[in-house]
């Protein structure tokens, strides 16, 4: 899909790695959730958006979860900060007890 949009193979690899990390987060924290992929149009550019959402336990301290090395699941703790570095835009909303939604975007160069 990223290749069809004219993304380079390098960018497509970065997007794939980000999707994989987001899916892994959902599985380890919320068990169940969904990932939506879609194209987005900016002013002069096209982009690719990945929306990962779940109805899991939520993240009590989002700022802490975005720091390198922070993990509550015994993983490497690179998930969210790593995904943020891979993509151009990163947005997270989380409510304890209600779930988490992470939206990331990559713009075509």
């Amino acid at each position: 899909m990223a290749a069809e949009l004219g993304f380079s193979t390098g960018d497509a690899t970065l997007i794939a790695a980000a999707i994989s990390e987001l899916a892994r987060n959902i599985v380890s924290y919320a068990r169940k959730g969904q990932i939506t992929l879609k194209t987005v149009n900016g002013l002069k550019r096209q982009g690719f958006a990945v929306i990962a959402s779940d109805d899991g336990p939520g993240i009590p301290d989002v700022q802490q979860a975005l720091r390198d090395g922070f993990s509550t699941s015994g993983s490497l703790g690179l998930g969210l900060p790593g995904v943020r570095r891979l993509m151009d835009e990163f947005e997270i909303t989380s409510q304890p007890g209600r779930g988490t939604t992470v939206t990331v975007k990559k713009w075509r160069q």
Partner: protein, 120 residues
Amino acid sequence: MEVPILKQGAFLIATFQAALSDADLKHLRMGLVQQVVRFRSRAVIVDVTAMDVMDSFASRTLREIAQMIRLRGAETVIVGIQPEVAFAMVQLGLTLEDVATALDLEEGLAYLNEKFKTAN
């Protein structure tokens, strides 16, 4: 998809044919360690040329494989990490720490042959 493990003299070569699931990676981890024991191998080459996504689980498993094999007294060389994959790994903060890497299978074999030249 299972990863074939080839015996090449004192070395074992495991070549990924495609992206692997978590279960495949765990299976490979066990399989490789067992084969190293069975064949008394000196070293293992893991060829990841066909891998187009390396996430935190995959890189951790590769690191674990290398550590287990080192405990058996053998060495691991990971070969064929694609440039895009290397880029994504660095951005994600993934490292293979002190596991040896080489450009491709040929370079990996050359590295091991040089290393074990005096021993053989």
